[in-house]
Subunit: 95 residues, 2 copies
């Protein structure tokens, strides 16, 4: 029974990692307190759709993707593919 809190929590942490941001970085860009981002990632609190929109914008995804169970995996695999393509000298996929 994966709740929406767990989904958002997971997407947020993974996505932030892929973007190479610290909680402090994300805090500065999204305009949300760092300690609160920590709370969300640990599913201590749920958040409002307004804050979710700010976080999504800062992470470069749509708001609904923050609620989708497979966003974390999708973005992570895409980042992996891009990275290995860069290493092998191939051009990056156009998305």
């Amino acid at each position: 029974m994966t709740t929406i809190r767990k989904i958002v929590s997971h997407n947020l942490r993974i996505l932030r990692g892929v973007r190479g941001m610290s909680q402090e970085d994300l805090s500065a860009i999204a305009g949300i307190d760092r300690t609160f981002i920590s709370d969300i990632e640990n599913a201590k609190y749920g958040t409002s759709i307004d804050r979710l929109e700010s976080l999504a914008g800062a992470l470069g995804v749509a708001t609904w993707e923050m609620c989708h169970p497979q966003t974390a995996d999708r973005i992570r695999k895409q980042a992996d593919a891009d990275a290995s393509a860069a290493t092998s000298g191939k051009p990056a996929p156009p998305h």
Copy 2:
């Protein structure tokens, strides 16, 4: 610049209409106060992801679909297709 409040507001109202529910019906099923549902539909307030999850469950969609800009249209067209199929005696599509 369509904000997440507008999207949720719109999806909620359309989806509820397609399901043939009043605000009172939805209130009873989702366990959320009727007047607050009214506020959300009029985008007076944003809501939390926890309440959004309850509303989505009561409406038979995933939570992320409540945040998606095209959910209202998608569901409405599907309902239309199902209705006309029923009228013409054809079997309902398997989705």
